[in-house]
Symmetry: C2
Subunit: 589 residues, 2 copies
């Protein structure tokens, strides 16, 4: 095993070309086995092994600085930079994160997880170097899928004129998470088809020196070109043609499905039988039914179809009523808003974490124009996710923008009723926080008129304590109510607030007559969220308010149970805090 | 006067070429006179008169849809679409907004004011048309300066493959607000220099059909080309070469200064004498002093130098220590964050309204990486501005992102101390809300240690009522205190919270002993802002809290005095609300 001898990039420098190639194969085996055990990004890492070896062979990390885009393709890099055990030793499989992490290694420059940032970050690294007249290489490794993100394009535009050394390696595997979309890809194809020789070249048009590597999964070929551009004194683009999932036949043949795999994927011979109904399946069913009847219905998605269950079959069925914008969240919001303004019925499906790309578009292109868009926000809520993919900030982000109605359904029937109301109404930009939770059902069709904005639902009338359980925390609210009843004989009022973006002032006012405490439960950070609005309402009254939710912080793969303990979000702790407050209040009475 | 006969685009269709040209000159005179009286965008409108006439001559608005980018160049369009009087009749000069406004005319599609949105919006309009199999032209008019914004580039990438009619007119006057920056401009220059014939073409590389108009201020020439592309069935870019400020010698010669002019600019023969000191001038002085001593100091600005007083002389003095990223706010944040991570000392200057472009970059590229950036946020606060340029949302946006320290200075000495602390510290991403107000001075050097996060300053100790006056509302807080004293004999405690992003829990706790009411004053919307955090802290205590600030809404050129009345932000109304609450409290005691 060559890999046994490789503990740092320095160890590569003495290997022969054939040893480097053999090393790539060893690394491939290790990554396949590890990722099939733990789950993780599969195709992107298999495709970039040879180029990573070549980068570390040619450059001198960490003196030379390599900035990874998204960094979901950093597994080979981690293996070569002292973190091999995280891939070879099953006991250490979970020690390292799936993204670059400066706290793990000086070879990692940034905590990254969103796309399209590497060129801008590399520009900053290069410019800091130039301010001090230092000399080293700064390299950005960016995938073709990431190129369409506005931040990447802004970065390229600036990188081209920054002056000084910067090497942008465009890893072109002709895929985003799913297939690519956009005019840039016509040019990448032309460049691939002409072996990089076409005169019309997106990169040289901007002023970059340009090199093409047709065999990006051949270590020697990549080394050859990187040696040419090393120590350049001006901006260079290296266009590297690789194969996503390289060396694993099933991944090469199913590039979208093998972008990210769940544990054991390679061992499963058969497709699973019929999957249970979930929020994804009821959404796609609703959409297909509706779209068949109404040609104005259109689904817009910025390059994350898998997240929403938008299978290739679903996309094909929708035909021109489905637009994948590529990784381009800003465009997706503005585009959808304009569709809505012209009488189309757009449903924009987007992940919580990537809504963050669109604050200004939500504010200016959408809310200011009051376009009746339906935006489905997926994966919202506290979670044990990586710090780069938390779903806990969306309520603060979306609900403080004027005009947007942000809804928090608590079960299947409510969700479908909200969705249909939103699609058909023509007055408001509406966002719906699709429950990131198992499907629950009330068993009864929901006939609520959601155009009565900010009208909460009183589920169970009681006294003394009122519990507002927002969206996915409705079930928790019910548990708290039951515990208060069973343990302390308190008959609390149970409320489903329904709207994240506004409070039901009339209801809140009425609670004053026979309640002394209101508690709010929300599945996200408290800062700027729903509970604070309730508290502000009661600020100058006798009503006491306790807000339960997350803290304003980045958490990194902290198990949800730990977070619930930390934030006092278990039923037990909520009841405890409630009773403590209540005793104080009763004592004073 | 030909203009007298022109009341709608239809009236153009019967005019001869020479009449159209004469009309352009008449419109120029009208715009010059009007804008010199009221202030407004000058150069951009003078440059686009001929092309606007040509567009309305060739196309059939409002059936054909024209989407303006930024829409600061829409004055000629307004003149031709029934709003002539807003430019010819001084009494009606202020009737129409300076941007497109659907409520004014069916010829205006969107409320717009931020850059780089037109292509995405036009894509939505075109796609809605195609879903219904309707036929008409959709035109986006975008300036070269706006091209570098991520949203524009995302839009172009998608427009190229959307299918169907879309005509993107790139109005290339070789200027942003100031000069352009970026690799794209190398290509625009090449295309201009080759009369559009260069093989290497940013637009055709993406798949657009491309047309070049070298004489963009010649009505006939523009008409000629637009007639060729009218009713196209695929995406087209028309590259239009115009002169910013065309036909006004002083504006042509001073394109940056005449981008936007104040009333009476053309009448002023002499430059004003030495300007009084303000927050801009003390900032630029600080920067020049510091940069001369420290080569790691660098100023980053996304294309708005004039807003910050970054004159051409200032920029020249900083040399490589100044980077204008072009209109590219996302890149500017990521770039600056990376600079900071590598030991440089970046000061990123940005307008409140455009910070909205950067939520995700603030969160992921900056805060998650804890880079010690200094971000100066300009023009924050409630104002009588256009709905597209409000400064009231930044506190909610920035202060709910983890790790970012957001500071609200109340006077010159505090601001300079914060700025210097921020530039020299290495632990936190720091944002400072530069007071958008006349300079005030305490007369005493500020020696506060701002690394003690969230430590408020007690300015005057009192009892019963505590007043927290944040940033620019510090003076208002003092007025309220004085009024309470003078009118009611109440000796209130006066507090400068200092930090927007966190509360001083120790101080707030201590207030409980001898205060019954806390009032918070903040210069922005209440939702998600500072006051709510204070209220949440006191939610389960006996302390009453009143939050004073703006409402979550878009206001459009509503005078500040009206807003202060509406939001109860005059000293009189704050005192009135305070006393009402206090009486209730005292009655119950």
């Amino acid at each position: 095993m060559i890999l046994e001898k490789v503990n740092s990039p320095q160890d590569l420098k003495t290997l022969s070309m054939s040893e480097l190639t053999a090393l790539a194969d060893e690394m491939r085996d290790v990554i396949v086995k590890k990722v099939n055990t733990t789950g993780g990004h599969f195709g992107p890492n298999l495709g970039i092994i040879e180029a990573t070896i070549a980068m570390h062979y040619v450059f001198n990390s960490p003196v030379d600085k390599i900035v990874f885009d998204v960094s979901h393709q950093c597994y080979p890099h981690k293996i070569l930079t002292g973190r091999k055990e995280g891939f070879t030793n099953p006991e250490k499989y979970l020690v390292y994160t799936g993204y670059t992490a400066p706290e793990e290694s000086p070879h990692d420059l940034f905590k990254v997880g969103h796309t399209s940032t590497s060129v801008s970050l590399a520009c900053g690294v290069a410019k800091a170097r130039d301010l001090r007249d230092e000399k080293y290489n700064v390299i950005a490794l960016i995938g073709d899928g990431s190129l369409t993100g506005g931040e990447a394009l802004e970065g390229l535009n600036n990188a081209a004129v920054l002056g000084g050394n910067i090497i942008i390696i465009v890893n072109d595997n002709d895929m985003s998470i799913a297939e690519n979309h956009g005019g840039i890809y016509d040019n990448l194809k032309l460049l691939r088809d002409t072996n990089g020789q076409a005169e019309n070249n997106f990169f040289t048009s901007m002023g970059f020196e340009y090199h093409y590597i047709g065999e990006g999964n051949n270590v020697e070929k990549v080394i050859e070109t990187l040696q040419k551009v090393k120590d350049t004194d001006h901006p260079v683009v290296v266009h590297l043609r690789t194969v996503k999932g390289h060396g694993c036949a099933v991944a090469e043949a199913n590039r979208e499905a093998f972008h990210y795999i769940m544990p054991g994927t390679l061992d499963k011979k058969d497709k699973p039988a019929v999957l249970p109904e979930d929020y994804n399946s009821i959404t796609t069913k609703y959409i297909l039914d509706k779209a068949a009847k109404d040609k104005n219905l259109i689904v817009v998605n910025p390059a994350t179809p898998g997240v929403h269950g938008f299978t290739p079959d679903f996309r094909a069925k929708l035909g021109r009523q489905y637009v994948d914008t590529g990784i381009a969240e800003e465009h997706a919001v503005a585009f959808s808003s304009a569709l809505a303004s012209q009488g189309a019925k757009p449903i924009l499906a987007i992940m919580t974490s990537f809504v963050q790309r669109t604050y200004d578009q939500l504010s200016q292109d959408l809310a200011l124009n009051n376009s009746p868009l339906t935006m489905l926000v997926y994966w919202g809520g506290l979670s044990g996710a990586d710090a780069t993919h938390l779903g806990s900030f969306d309520m603060s982000l979306i609900s403080n923008i004027p005009n947007i109605v942000y809804l928090a359904p608590t079960n299947k029937e409510e969700y479908l009723a909200m969705l249909d109301w939103s699609v058909e109404q023509t007055k408001y930009p509406v966002a719906i926080r699709v429950p990131f939770a198992p499907l629950t059902s009330s068993g009864v069709e929901d006939t609520t008129d959601y155009s009565k904005l900010n009208k909460s639902k009183v589920l169970e009338k009681g006294e003394e304590v009122a519990i507002l359980g927002l969206g996915t925390f409705a079930a928790k609210a019910k548990e708290v109510k039951d515990a208060l009843k069973n343990q302390f004989g308190i008959n609390a009022t149970l409320i489903n607030p329904v709207y994240i973006s506004g409070i039901d002032k009339e209801l809140l006012e009425s609670l004053k007559s026979n309640h002394s405490l209101v508690i709010t439960l929300e599945d996200g950070i408290l800062d700027g969220g729903f509970g604070e609005k309730v508290t502000r309402f009661y600020g100058n009254s006798e009503m006491k308010v306790l807000n339960f939710g997350g803290k304003k912080e980045f958490t990194d793969r902290v198990p949800l149970a730990t977070l619930y303990e930390r934030y006092h979000l278990t039923t037990e702790l909520i009841v405890k805090d409630t009773m403590e407050n209540l005793k104080c209040t009763l004592l004073k009475k």
